[in-house]
């Protein structure tokens, strides 16, 4: 079986190579048969990689412990769900997963655009196949998932595997990597289309139209992956945080930031034909940051909580990145003429410039995160001393950057495209501005003294006000015209331009995230060694230890504390924070007791046991719940963006309407 899998990968490698050659030659020599053959090769590669992946998954599920990968990532006790997830639980498997996703994406790209983009498709196939080829080299020659265990050249098997890291045996963790990978891999397709249109010098913006949905979906996957990761950290790791600026976390954030910048600036190209070079640079950077993220996660060059073993694949990634960055830069420079902008920035006070600032800030944050992530590597090279930058450094830098972005989120909708005169500006800013100042003053009056929290919450008000106003005014205008109710008018308004109003919903989700983050300075912590009958206080909560118990299960042993929670003398509930010790992996995990409310979370972690005393870590985290709600709103808003706009579908019938107040002749 494993030989069939390895053979399938080897064949896929050969066929990818063939796909590149036949597409390029077919396009250059004008041989449609060759290019079609290249397209078929993409489908064939998909079938082969799927075969290999199927064999690996089958081996994982049935427990074929002759195979090294199966033995080191599953054991007999694991539920089937986690056995399946072991596919992406380790180095070799996850690289195969990458390959498989890429081949699936490529197959979908070929099938969906073979009729519409005959000229671009050969290049798209060639570019995607090149990326595929790189990963298949890793799959086949460097990190094969089909290696078998052997003693003295005789294939052997072990009685039971080592099992999946118990920390990872949690539902959010099972789907966190696939979502991140869907994001990482997905940006390859917009990148391929962008490069193809550069190579072909295709007129117009067709690559943007074709990949618009694609980018949004991929961005959504990436964001969901990040969100699931932080939800997992919060609910499982027991330290009560959701983000610690770990290199691998940063690696997933980097392409997301670049893609966010891209999604914004691409609107300027669609609307005005501006920023073409910039958009090429952004989509390429996004893709390279995806590869870079995979590299960072998989090579172990920086130490991380996502501790993967040091491995030799790093240098292959560096070579691949260097080659592809060099060729992309050359291509963009060579085609600068084709990317000439069709219009200029008319005024600094305009929607365009707010987009521009948004882009600059997003890119600045990208650089900051990249710098912070690579700092240990750089210092090690320069001074043989690895200096890691901690969360404090990142927060000092990223909090102001985040607030600036939040401010722009509110300002954007108040500016008009092209120009906004002082008059309109005053009119638009008046009420949200006053409201913001009032919010800040109120927060201060109620005793809040953390400047960042005050600024953040006031800006949250500001952004909310502008978004609500935007919906309210638009819906009002529609309901006046169509004589419909307010709610149908809101739906109609959103449906007319789903990308804009869906985008506002996404912004609203970001506001909720900022509300959640603003609670951070008010966290309260209490750590105590408690015996039965003792009482522990955290914030306004009292925790009374009713009992300390322990027990054995088939694959782990557990210890737990039974606590009675009261707040201001009022009984709330009984909670049981637990600590499990997994025997196979020799690792402890926490089952945190969590009482989530909209105003604050009570978070209790059972840390350790000594004699008849247990060490408990209790925290009160204000407003954290809003982070998870915010993520859901972001997802909802993005889904709205994906619904086709009503106007766009009906625009063949639209005409220029309007009554100009001043008459100005147009000369051609």
């Amino acid at each position: 079986m494993e030989n069939v899998g390895a053979l399938a990968l080897l064949l896929a490698f050969c066929i990818s190579l063939y796909a590149i050659v036949s597409s390029v030659v077919g396009r250059l020599k004008g041989k449609p048969f060759l290019t079609l053959s290249g397209e078929r090769a993409v489908l064939a590669v998909w079938a082969l990689v799927s075969t290999a992946a199927g064999i690996l998954v089958y081996a994982l599920l049935t427990g074929d412990y002759r195979m090294a990968y199966v033995a080191s990532h599953t054991n007999r006790e694991m539920p089937g769900f986690y056995k399946f997830a072991a596919w992406w639980g380790g180095q070799e498997g996850s690289l195969l997963f990458w390959s498989w996703l890429l081949s699936s994406y490529a197959a979908v790209a070929v099938l969906t655009s073979r009729k519409t983009h005959r000229n671009l498709l050969p290049w798209v196939v060639a570019i995607l196949s090149t990326i595929q080829l790189f990963f298949l080299i890793l799959n086949t020659f460097i990190a094969s998932p089909f290696q078998v265990l052997a003693v003295d050249r005789v294939v052997t098997s072990v009685a039971d595997g080592m099992g999946l890291n118990p920390l990872l045996q949690y539902w959010a963790m099972v789907i966190h990597p696939p979502f991140l990978y869907l994001g990482y891999v997905g940006f390859a397709v917009p990148f391929a289309f962008a490069m193809a249109s550069l190579i072909e010098k295709a007129p117009g913006e067709s690559w943007i139209h074709t990949t618009r949905r694609w980018s949004i979906v991929t961005w959504l996957f990436q964001g969901m992956g990040i969100g699931l990761g932080s939800a997992w950290a919060y609910h499982v790791l027991g330290w009560g945080g959701y983000w610690m600026w770990d290199p691998v976390e940063n690696a997933s954030l980097l392409p997301w930031l670049a893609a966010t910048a891209f999604l914004h600036s691409v609107m300027m190209q669609e609307k005005k034909g501006m920023m073409k070079v910039w958009n090429m640079v952004l989509i390429s950077s996004t893709f390279f940051l995806c590869i870079f993220g995979t590299f960072l996660t998989r090579s172990g060059i920086v130490s991380s909580v996502h501790a993967f073993a040091e491995s030799p694949i790093g240098k292959y990634f560096v070579a691949f990145l260097a080659l592809s960055i060099a060729s992309t830069v050359w291509l963009i420079l060579d085609r600068l003429n084709y990317l000439r902008s069709e219009s200029d920035l008319e005024s600094v006070v305009s929607r365009e410039s707010s987009f521009l600032f948004n882009n600059l800030i997003l890119l600045a944050s990208c650089f900051a995160v990249l710098w912070g992530t690579l700092f240990p590597v750089i210092t090690e090279k320069l001074s043989n001393e690895k200096i890691s930058l901690d969360a404090v450094w990142f927060n000092r830098l990223m909090v102001p950057i985040g607030l600036a972005l939040l401010f722009l989120t509110g300002v954007g909708p108040l500016f008009a495209w092209r120009r906004t005169s002082i008059d309109s500006l005053r009119k638009n800013f008046q009420w949200p501005g006053i409201g913001t100042l009032v919010t800040a003053a109120t927060l201060f009056a109620f005793g809040m003294r953390y400047p960042y929290s005050i600024i953040s919450l006031s800006l949250c008000f500001f952004v909310t006000a502008t978004i609500v106003l935007e919906f309210f005014r638009g819906a009002n205008a529609i309901s006046e015209k169509t004589k419909s109710g307010f709610i149908p008018a809101v739906i109609e308004l959103t449906h007319r331009n789903t990308r804009r109003y869906g985008g506002y919903l996404v912004h609203m989700g970001m506001v909720l995230l900022f509300i959640g983050w603003s609670g951070h300075p008010f966290n309260q912590t209490a750590v105590g060694e408690v015996a039965k009958g003792a009482v522990m206080q955290v914030g306004s909560y009292k925790l009374k230890v009713l009992d300390l118990t322990e027990g054995e299960m088939s694959n782990y042993s557990w210890e737990t504390a039974k606590l009675e929670v009261t707040k201001n003398g009022e009984f709330l509930e009984i909670v049981e924070p637990t600590r499990r010790f997994y025997k196979a992996a020799q690792q402890a995990t926490a089952v945190v007791a969590l009482r989530s409310r909209l105003n604050e979370d009570l978070y209790i972690n059972y840390a350790a046991r000594s004699g008849d005393k247990a060490t408990l870590q209790a925290y009160v985290f204000p407003l954290v719940e809003w982070i998870w709600i915010g993520i859901l709103v972001v997802i909802g808003g993005t889904l709205v963006c994906l619904v086709p706009s009503k106007v766009a579908r009906a625009y063949t019938r639209t005409e220029v309407v309007g009554v100009a107040k001043a008459n100005a002749p147009v000369e051609v």
């Binding site: 048969f33 082969l48 005959r118 609307k271 005169s421 063949t652 008459n663 100005a664 147009v666």
Partner: protein, 133 residues
């Protein structure tokens, strides 16, 4: 598998959807129309001052005129003028085949001092198709 890659019958070649040479111009035009619609809506919501509205509107109309001129140039190049254009230009309002006086817009009736290709009021072509000035 090799057969699947190599054996390709002529019938297998996908028929490319007809690509109009005007596609990028149509897209550009659609974008401008959308910009105009947005502008109109924002003006109605009182987000824009009269001055901003007018300046931007005229700019957009000029851009539209440029795209249409480009379209005409392309048509001439392809030898399609006069005659039917290969692709129905997506966002172009159907030209009204009414005999018109040179300086009066057939659509909205606005009058201009000199002959214009496009109406400064409503943006529609003033010359009926096929009538070259």
């Amino acid at each position: 598998m090799v057969g699947y890659l190599v054996l390709i019958r002529p019938g297998d070649l996908p028929k490319a959807a007809p690509v109009s040479p005007f596609r990028h111009l149509d897209e550009r035009k659609a974008a401008i129309y959308e910009n105009l619609r947005d502008l109109q809506f924002e003006y109605r919501l009182d987000k824009l001052s009269d001055e901003d509205y007018n300046t931007t509107k005229i700019e957009l109309q000029k851009e539209l005129a440029k795209v249409r001129a480009e379209e005409d140039r392309l048509k001439l190049e392809l030898g399609q003028l006069p005659g039917r254009s290969a692709a129905p230009a997506m966002a172009v309002p159907a030209p009204t085949p009414v005999a018109v006086k040179k300086n009066v817009c057939p659509s909205c009736g606005a009058q201009f001092e000199k002959a214009l290709k496009f109406c400064g009021e409503c943006g529609k072509p003033i010359l009926a198709k096929g009538e070259v000035a």
